[in-house]
Symmetry: C2
Amino acid sequence: MVGGGSSERSLQRALELGAIDRAAEGPEDALDGVDVCFVCAPVSAVVESAAAALASGGDAVVSDVGSTKCSVLEGLAERGLSVEDRSRFVGGHPLAGAETAGVDHASADLFQDARWYLTPTESTSGVHYDRLYRTVSALGARPAAIGASIHDRLMATVSHLPHVLANALVSQAAHELVEESQTLPATGPSFRDATRVAGANPPLWRDIFLANRDAIDGEIETLVASLRKVQEDLRAGDADAIERSIERSRADRRRLLESELAGGAVSEVRAAVPNRPGIVAQLALAVGEAGVNIVDMALYPAPDMRSGAIALWVQGDGSAERVIGVVEALGFRAHVA
Amino acid sequence: MVGGGSSERSLQRALELGAIDRAAEGPEDALDGVDVCFVCAPVSAVVESAAAALASGGDAVVSDVGSTKCSVLEGLAERGLSVEDRSRFVGGHPLAGAETAGVDHASADLFQDARWYLTPTESTSGVHYDRLYRTVSALGARPAAIGASIHDRLMATVSHLPHVLANALVSQAAHELVEESQTLPATGPSFRDATRVAGANPPLWRDIFLANRDAIDGEIETLVASLRKVQEDLRAGDADAIERSIERSRADRRRLLESELAGGAVSEVRAAVPNRPGIVAQLALAVGEAGVNIVDMALYPAPDMRSGAIALWVQGDGSAERVIGVVEALGFRAHVA
């Protein structure tokens, strides 16, 4: 394992930790005798580094780990690389990451069981794709081939669009509340949930938005069409159409949650509890002791901030009933939502 | 306290519990000698009951507890009530509620410290408004006068629009994933957070959407304008405009969260933890023992479902540092996000 990078200290530390066997002197040295090269750089810098790696010769398959794929392929297409050199590039995107960065936080099982999208094209060399596939598998990940544009659309839908909406929604609310001299009403969980990622890491998300701009543009267009349909139903006062549409979303959410977790049906249990330090612990501890794993949870404080509800999403047959029993044994009320 | 309702059993139980002193024989009997009348009915049924209460004579101030206000005022305006009778109606909306319904779950302190919006109009009788205000205060709530249309816009922004978006987003994702034969990628928390309320109680939300349709229509229009601006910035590749806009959302979110909680600055701490039963409990217990109250939390499982992150929003000076200390003492990593 050869490591290359601009920080001398990081390379030294990586050597000490055994994360790499050799620190490269520069890009060309880094590729010397290498079979697989991963370019790990911000989306905006991937193309330049990948092009340099491909142009420096050798037979390495070159991949990246960025969250959007079309822009990299397009960028490389403009670099005047030979057909052979371009055939050695395969885009990649591991769905893994930690809350911490830097070599000091390196972890050997970071990619264990993580999906790792690979985006080969018609001109990709089969032998190089196969080598990358086996390398990714050896890291414990689950490689999955997907078209670059499908990949980018999926990411736009399930990740980038929710960020766009969170940003728009939080600013809309802030603007109206200031205009009307009101503070945020304690209405329920929906606003907080919908805006939790608002304003996340501006420079990082600026780059992601730009790198996937075509797909995000398309997803916004689709969403606007849905919103226009809602407006149409509202203006027509079409109660049936509105209810049917909510019913469809209900079925869609359950299906997605179940496919995501792939371990059986998910139930939502709501417990009404006093809002004090330790209550989340008491409840979660009791649920854990009952052998039920919580796949998602949300806290909903009541307006007085002294009581509230905890929603628990639990998985597996009978889990909801067990959780209700546990909550009631603690003296609180619970029901399946 | 006189109770009226269509269920004989509920009235009987309310008497037993002391929630009411007398069960009324019918609407007119219910109002006999009463100073304040609360019409507690689904939004779609409020107008008819309120109009009947006003028309039956007497001097009671009549109010309701529905989540939208303009449609009630408009409905009453169409009922041909006398100016005097209409002057005794004041719309109301307490921001309180429990996870449970029915008289068996009645609670004397349900409204303690809850904001209770009142929507008087130019034709509201001052003496009746004052009586309602004092009654609501006596229940422990904090009454706040607000224009009906401003109220409805605020609710549309912070509650109804997030539901519309959650519904639209979940169906858009489900449709695309099926089309591309993909399952939901484990990309991060944004999608799950944004769609948590998708498909909530279809008949209830159908009624809410319809009752507040004008305001929701307007809020959708405003959101679509924001989305068009995002598309414009993306197409122009305007990195500065995109980053500035995310920065604004970042400031807006923090401001809203702080105004909502009104108890000092809120910090977000992220802890990286193994994903197993009991871990939430262990962490929350330790944080609770350190005297820090968790105002919001979210679980972010990693793709392998064996590790993940817990985000904790905590309030007050020094809370974030204390939480980090607690987490590290447990052997996990944490940082301020």
